[in-house]
């Protein structure tokens, strides 16, 4: 049923084209570029706003880990830390 596209990760970053997704605006702070470039490959970034500001630092760490270990997001440790730090600083409890 499906066709498969193989793409460079770089191409994915410009591909958030659903509905009003362009209207999502996360807080401008260090790490935002990595959040946009990685998280948005699989889901819109309103998931982050929606789950705020109630997650603790440990809670955001667990979310980032789940995205990588459980859902298979291809993100290396250094970038994962940048993303988690951004989420904790800007969307944490």
């Amino acid at each position: 049923m499906r066709s498969v596209f193989a793409l460079a990760l770089g191409t994915l970053m410009a591909t958030t084209a659903y509905a009003g997704e362009q209207s999502i605006s996360l807080k401008k702070a260090p790490g935002l570029e990595k959040v946009e470039g990685n998280c948005a490959a699989c889901h819109s970034l309103d998931y982050i706003q929606m789950n705020s500001p109630f997650l603790s630092a440990a809670g955001w760490d667990a979310e980032v880990t789940k995205m990588i270990k459980t859902f298979g997001a291809p993100i290396d440790d250094g970038i994962a830390k940048t993303i988690a730090d951004y989420l904790k600083a800007n969307y944490g409890s």
Binding site: G20, Q22, A41, D46, M50, T70
Partner: protein
Amino acid sequence: MITRRHLIAASGAGAALAGGTVAFPHLFRANSAVSDLPAALSQGTRDEAVLEALPGKKPLIKLTYRPPNYETPIEYFRTPLTPNDAFFVRYHLADIPEVDAKTWRLAVGGDGANDQIELSLDDLKAMPATEIVAVNQCSGNRRGLFNPHVPGVEWGYGAMGCARWKGARLKDVLDKVGVKKEAIEIVLDGADGPVVDKTPDFVKSIPVSKAMEETPLIAYEMNGGPLPHFNGFPARLIVPGWTGTYWIKHIVSIRVVTKPFDGFWMKSAYRIPTGKFPVVARFISQETEANTPITEMVVNSLLTSHRDGAAVNAGNVTVSGVAWDGGYGIRTVEISTEGGAVWSAAKLGEDLGRFAFRPWSHEFIAKPGGNTVTVRATNAIGQTQTASLILNPAGYHHNVMQTVTLNAA
């Protein structure tokens, strides 16, 4: 490199379509803020939720764009049947192909079946048809009201709907291939899938005993029309009484299996602490000492005539809403305007069957000032709503009695 399916390539304002995926032609339609979201939702949710229409849908409360998660404003629950174009939308994964009814096929087989077949939509429609009115409610409906908040899709009251479904019985489909004695589960998959290949596809299972009941259907009609794309066109499983997680949309595969299915969405997700909720239906082959798959819905009700904090005239006021449960049927709905000290029976409306929304209404005399109205439904086996939230890690089964304040002048 990353493998991605059905990519929508977009640059700037123009969205091009790739790979036959559904298009969103209204890309830059203005969306509007939702003025009356429940106060219990997190501030982040309240800030990002907007009223926005998906193609073929009325404006619904957008929680997430991709995958699309949109809930139904409670005004649409003032009738026991929820319109197709206002029915909530819930996806886990963002690769959602637009299925062509002509080429759609449902594959039925598995190691627990004697045979394997493929059914077209015409084949399915040629089978004996059954109609049933049933509530489809997300396991996590009202998750956003949990205190403390738990992560996930932060639903308010509207991750549910009730429709008249028409389709072929699942058991009749299974009888076509023959279920072996040693079969224990039926594994169900839809055409939608993950963006990244390593993400576990959304695949679910149900016990053979549940599948062989009279009520689960492969539904191809909803309220007399085709299923909307975002509700599973051209056919979806419906499992009346059980939460929406089993109601696989765009269903393309049914496998009868002789071992418990060990996919992520069964082994790790959609589980509740074993024994913590008053549910009768169990899923024994998936149960552990610690937790067990969510099964039937818990008894619940919603006041739909007024918003919390609404202004009314002092004097006679009629409040109304709906009640539902996991299929035992609603016995009573009671109202308290005295904080639960005294209860009065509400009048029950049209009975569309034990799986349907049951309308109710009640008149009381509003005194000048704040009037609290608390609603409590009880089902035919005596189960009632909880007074305090039953905490669980994933935020399921929220059926705390609702209290609405009406300000009379």
